[in-house]
């Protein structure tokens, strides 16, 4: 009897070992599988263009070389004849440097952009900006597909089948806009126009810098994006504008490169007591009218946590359109910001007139909608 019991116990034990062995085998299989996937990931042809060292001159024996917004060096065999643009800011730059006729396809979101969409009414729609239609693009046979640097297309693997180079350019942040425009000049071969255009923008940036430099006061600003309490974190487009305009971003030490719109709360804003509030207005159609801007401003001012701060008491709450807060026209946003922060130093500057001048010289129609409310004195 006892012997039997012992044998039973042994049987149980070995059973346990078998189970453990199996588990080990299964685990090992998982590891092998993961490694296999890993290898496949490493060895698969990367859709990104090949990387070569940047020479002084951008025309080399292999072709054209430039740097994208992410700092990566890209080489093209020749200036692009046909371009598909998924990014409305880049589309605007292409128009400004006289390369509109090279654009053979744009994303739906470019067509619906309130500022520049009407310019592309007759250009082929290639679908969603995140998942453009690969077949449509294959039919268009473009040399280059320009996408956002911050959010490249999901189906890049399929797009590269169409033999086009995907170029990641934002043309959004004031910090990088001049470099991005230069890259656009190289891509299209319109280097001269690109230089003129970027110099025009640079001159505004320089003007603001020059006038802000001697002023020691830095009024504090709370910048709010579409979502309530999502603010402009470190190195975001809004943060750049505030910094350049000599204003202090109350959330300047929040956020990082991957999270540029950190969420704060009522207490944070109340404690910081900003002197100016900038409310960002997104793309939607209702937000492009005076009534829309005014309603947005009233809603923001009435919100608990904002109602008591100095900015509201002094009526310094402004609505800024996304079309001038980010993108090639961000320098207009910069002018408005500077004028609001330092009214004395920018008395003679009229941002609206500057925008009219821009529309006349570079991109027609961009001054058609309201971009800032209320107009600073």
């Amino acid at each position: 009897m006892e012997k039997e019991l012992i044998s039973c116990a042994l049987a149980q034990k070995s059973g346990g070992i078998i189970i453990k062995n199996r588990l080990a085998i299964i685990l090992a299989a998982c590891v092998v599988l993961t490694l296999a996937l890993c290898l496949a990931g490493c060895t698969s042809p990367t859709p990104a263009p090949s990387v070569t060292p940047t020479p002084g001159n951008n025309t080399t024996a292999q072709g054209l070389t430039f740097t994208d917004t992410n700092g990566k060096t890209v080489t093209l065999p020749k200036p692009a004849e046909k371009i598909v643009v998924l990014n409305s800011d880049c589309a605007e730059v292409l128009v400004a440097i006289g390369a509109k006729d090279r654009i053979v396809g744009v994303a739906s979101s470019v067509k619906t952009n309130p500022s520049v969409g009407s310019l592309f009414a007759n250009v082929t729609d290639v679908g969603n900006w995140q998942t453009p239609n690969p077949e449509q693009i294959a039919l268009l046979q473009p040399d280059v597909i320009i996408s956002y640097a911050s959010s490249p297309p999901k189906n890049a693997d399929q797009l590269t089948q169409a033999n086009a180079t995907i170029v990641q350019l934002d043309c959004g942040n004031l910090k990088t806009i001049v470099g991005d425009i230069t890259a656009m000049g190289i891509i299209t071969g319109n280097v001269q126009q690109a230089q003129e255009y970027s110099q025009y923008i640079q001159s505004v940036i320089d003007l603001v810098k020059e006038r802000v430099a001697p002023i020691s006061a830095t009024p504090s600003v709370y910048w709010e994006y579409n979502k309530a309490w999502s603010t402009a974190g470190n190195s975001s487009g809004g943060d750049t504008i505030m910094y350049m305009a000599g204003a202090a971003n109350i959330a300047g030490d929040l956020g990082n490169k991957t999270n540029q719109q950190p969420a704060v709360n009522q207490e944070f804003v109340l404690t910081k007591n900003p002197q100016i509030i900038m409310k960002y207005s997104g793309f939607s159609v209702t937000n492009t009218t005076l009534a829309g801007f005014s309603a947005l401003r009233n809603d923001t001012m009435a919100r608990t946590g904002i109602a008591g701060v100095d900015a509201v008491k002094n009526g310094k709450v402004y609505v800024i359109s996304s079309t001038i807060a980010y993108g090639p026209k961000a320098f207009i946003g910069l002018l408005y910001m500077a004028k609001v922060a330092h009214p004395g130093a920018f008395q003679d500057i009229d941002p609206a007139a500057k925008l009219d001048e821009y529309a006349g010289r570079f991109v027609p129609g961009t001054n058609a909608t309201i971009v800032f409310y209320p107009t600073p004195a």
Binding site: S44, N128, T131, T258
Partner: protein, 380 residues
């Protein structure tokens, strides 16, 4: 002694009955296979680019001819067909449409089989890769990569496309299963424990996804939402070549357990009496089903309902015998997802709808129908 009015002589011979049912099932499998082949042909011939069926055919033939050019006879045979009229036809058909068709089918097949097996193993018709928290876990893995920009294996992967997202989603899918396995080691593998553990883990991972959503900015949020909606944008021959062996191995191993699954559907006690090691079978099947499902989900994002719907339809058509139910679910899953994806990419061309949304609509309507059918549908 007689139960019915019939006399003994009228009773059907069992072997006759078995043969009838066997033939009926074979016919069903044949029909669905034929439909699948038709769906593939249809899907290959429609799209944003207006290609003629002849061009589609020539594109495929020409591509094979180029690939087999070195081989005598076969190469020459395919070379007879000549080239398609438009040069882009070959790129569009061979490099865009075919991998996408393959990915949609493979995903449908894997999700449907893993759903069928999970339902059988847990004897619950409402169980799917989603109920067990797998999708939430994979979403969380993908979300970490999208929002924070680092995968578990981020260090090893230089550049590339979205492989860090794929691997992270896969690893987290497996992790959810490992956690459920761990819980079952402590609390036993009764269906209630497993299902409850899955649901709870699902909520926890979902909370993780929501936190990441809250932290992320607009661009990342759109990326993440895109992934959560699920679509066939990751389609490429690379993806197909990775998925195909995983799918084949998992499905064959699961299909070999068909008899054990049949026994299990009669209840744990009867299954044990029929010589099944119930706990071991349950974990073995769940693990394989998880590998199959999460490897697909990793490439496509969340595609819901297919793992619930395809096995359900098949059970109504072909019965509960897993020897037929597993292949039938595989074919049905492939068919439904391929048709849905073809619809998704053609209906608003050139705009695409994520196929995940279509699956939610179809799945919702299907289950509404089941609820209205009442008790017969056996969903409760």
């Amino acid at each position: 002694m007689q139960e019915t009015g019939e006399s003994r002589a009228e009773w059907k011979e069992v072997n006759e009955l078995y043969r009838q049912r066997y033939l009926k099932r074979l016919a069903l499998l044949g029909t669905i296979s034929a439909l699948l082949v038709l769906a593939v042909l249809y899907s290959a011939s429609v799209g944003t680019a207006p290609l003629s069926i002849g061009d589609v055919f020539l594109a495929v033939m020409h591509n094979i001819a180029v690939k087999t050019a070195g081989i005598p006879l076969i190469g020459q045979l395919f070379a007879l067909f000549g080239e398609p009229q438009s040069g882009t036809a070959e790129v569009i058909v061979v490099n865009m449409r075919l991998p996408r068709i393959m990915l949609a089918m493979l995903t449908g097949v894997c999700l449907a089989v893993s759903g069928a097996v999970m339902q059988g193993v847990l004897r619950n018709p409402l169980v799917s890769p989603f109920t067990l928290g797998l999708a939430s876990a994979a979403s969380f893995g993908a979300a970490i990569t999208i929002v924070l920009g680092t995968g578990i294996l981020g260090l090893f992967i230089a550049g590339g496309s979205n492989y860090d997202i794929i691997i992270n989603a896969f690893v987290f899918g497996l992790l959810s299963m490992m956690l459920i396995y761990g819980i079952s080691r402590v609390r036993g593998t009764s269906q209630a424990t497993l299902i409850l553990a899955g649901v709870v883990l699902g909520y926890i991972f979902q909370a993780g996804v929501i936190i990441l959503k809250y932290w992320s900015n607009n661009d990342k949020l759109k990326d993440l939402e895109m992934w959560l909606m699920g679509g066939m944008w990751g389609a490429s021959w690379n993806a197909v070549l990775i998925l195909l062996p995983i799918a084949i191995v998992c499905i064959v191993l699961l299909a070999l357990k068909a008899w054990d699954l049949n026994a299990l559907s009669a209840g744990d006690e009867i299954a044990r009496n029929l010589g099944i090691r119930v706990e071991r079978l349950r974990l073995y099947c769940l693990l394989l089903a998880t590998i199959a499902a999460s490897s697909c989900l990793a490439f496509t994002g969340v595609v819901g309902f297919i793992g619930l719907m395809a096995p359900h339809i098949c059970r109504m058509l072909i019965g509960n015998d897993h020897r037929y139910l597993i292949p039938c679910s595989a074919l049905m899953g492939g068919l439904i997802l391929l048709l849905s994806d073809t619809f998704a990419r053609t209906v608003f061309s050139p705009l695409e709808i994520p196929v995940g949304i279509i699956m939610y609509i179809i799945g919702g309507i299907f289950f509404l129908y089941l609820i209205l059918r009442g008790k017969e549908s056996h969903i409760y």
